[in-house]
Amino acid sequence: MKIRLTENQYKRLLSEQETSEELIDYDGVHKKMGKKIDKFISKLFIHIFETDKITPQTMEGPYEYGYKSLVKIISEVGDYNRHSSLILAHNYIKYFDLIKNGDVENLIGKPLEYYALFKVDVPLHYTGEVTGTGYGSIEGYSTSPDKFFDQIERGEFDINDVDVNPEEEKDQIYWHLDDDVTRDQIFNDFDKLIDKEEITWGQWY
């Protein structure tokens, strides 16, 4: 059967195709997977649900504890590469209601939504503790040097006028991310710091 298209219909279909392919084939490793759920994927999803009982609730939490196990199962059972498996894992959640009902027919043909790791450059704020040695004096009120010595032994003194020379200790700074300050800066200077155009795809890991 031949279908006759108007010029507008033809252009729209062309652009739809281009957009979808650009997403799905972003890194050229998704040849095996189409843009929609096919029979194999729908059966794979239902098999995973019946076998591993993975639900959206069991996947809540950070990526490491949620998606990772599902991605691994899809990759092993379906023989997909890891990026394709991540996209399928995302769509497993998206179409979970159909999957749990074993609705193969309704699953087939559903569009696969792209899902990937994105990244953007920002300054990270770090805080570190640096240690050193200071030369100074301890002081205390007393009736004689001997009594003051006893006070020092008991820890009864004030430290005064420490002259610090940290030069030798510079390399021993223990840095850690100051998450609050970093988040505050992103929040306060969002428009200045983050340009939507600079968001890129992250390295899959």
Binding site: F118, L124, T127, G128, T133, G136, Y141, V162
Partner: protein, 196 residues
């Protein structure tokens, strides 16, 4: 009345020091090393002020009073405060102590090494990563402060001048113990100086 002295008594009186404390180490302008009429009057005046006295009063309770009322220096006032507490038998009579030695009480210091620490902050170039369906969605996630991970790129840039150093109190005691245990007590005492 005329007293006749032996040569020994005469020499002893000449050399007798009524002024300084700690074998001549400390000297005060306004007070001697004994309770005199001025000091006893000061003590009685302070007593009459009726300042309520705790069981074990700190000398600082009276220091400002001696400074303000009698125009004494802080060091003199600290010493008199200590002796006022020591001699106060709650009778209000301090004249009976005239001629008695005043005990030195002042600030001593000893120099040594102390562990210190400071916090330093800096910036590092890095990237935030997160999972999303589109760059726009990831942008929205960032706006909400949501991100999956961060990756450092390069080293931390920071300024190490003008650091706010603090004594590392957890280690001051250990450090001091180590320094004292490595020296003779007499040597340490010799190094103790009288502070301001």
């Amino acid at each position: 009345m005329v007293l006749r002295l032996t040569e020994g008594q005469y020499k002893r009186l000449l050399s007798e020091d009524n002024k300084s404390f700690l074998d001549g180490e400390v000297d005060f302008r306004n007070i001697s090393n004994k309770v005199d009429r001025f000091v006893s009057n000061c003590f009685e005046y302070v007593f009459k002020l009726g300042k309520s006295i705790p069981d074990d009063p700190p000398y600082t309770l009276y220091t400002k009073l001696f400074m303000d009322e009698f125009s004494l220096t802080e060091s003199e006032s600290v010493l008199l405060s200590h002796n006022y507490i020591k001699l106060n038998d709650k009778t209000g009579d301090f004249k009976k102590f005239i001629g008695k030695p005043l005990e030195y009480f002042g600030n001593f210091s000893w120099s040594g090494f102390f562990p210190v620490s400071a916090y330093v902050s800096g910036e590092i170039a890095g990237e935030f990563t997160g999972y999303a369906t589109t760059p726009e969605e990831f942008y929205s996630q960032l706006e909400d402060g949501e991100y999956e991970n961060f990756i450092e790129k390069g080293g931390v840039e920071y300024n190490d001048y003008d650091l706010n150093w603090e004594y590392d109190n957890d280690y001051v005691g250990d450090s001091l113990e180590n320094q004292l245990s490595g020296q003779d007590k007499e040597d340490v005492i010799d190094d103790i100086t009288i502070g301001e």
